[in-house]
Symmetry: C2
Subunit: 135 residues, 2 copies
Amino acid sequence: MWDAQQAIIEANLSFYEAFATGDATAMARVWARNEPVVCIHPGWQPLYGRDQVLASWRAIFREDSPAIRCEGARVTFLDTVAHVTCVERIRAGKLAATNIFIQEEGVWRMVHHQASPFMDQPLPPSVIPPPGSLN
Amino acid sequence: MWDAQQAIIEANLSFYEAFATGDATAMARVWARNEPVVCIHPGWQPLYGRDQVLASWRAIFREDSPAIRCEGARVTFLDTVAHVTCVERIRAGKLAATNIFIQEEGVWRMVHHQASPFMDQPLPPSVIPPPGSLN
């Protein structure tokens, strides 16, 4: 489990490295080749299938190569699937992201990405976790 | 697979029924009891764990019971996990949502929800899928 956790954290980092450097080839390596994939960019409708998802990254990289970094990544295992939730920091603010990974040919590859902007707004008191409960 | 697909579509509908009616008890039934859960409401940071996630729904239902409905639900299977992507229609506009489900005690229960607003903006030409490719 620890090895899988490390492998997923590294796959997640590879995604953000490809993102931050605008490297479409590296981004293509991150995404699954055989499993169905979905990508929901901030403000976009869902995009389905490897061809459409990779085309969207190429279009984004033609416009901009954002200074993006991932913080607070948490891996959650669901049987043979894992997802990473994290905070993406960009110049304009912060986004909450979900990245789902599955193993293909022994390699953890991305099958789903969704990111949505958020503000550091106070949560209702009933939702604030007690100290230490998130460790 | 067909039976599983139907069961997941129904679990997804149960989620939106609980959401639209502001029924916290029904919402509690939708979410997994044993698996780790995560929820990313629009504009919120990720919330972790059943207690925090259900508290967030109770807080939301105290404020409002939104006229929400789900359209265009698509089920994607990833081994023993499935996710539904769909468009949520509310009065203020549209959101793209991901809902992940896993089986617990033979019942498909939600382990992850994320929704993010989007506008019907034109996609870059390279990203527009060819006619029929999404069927």
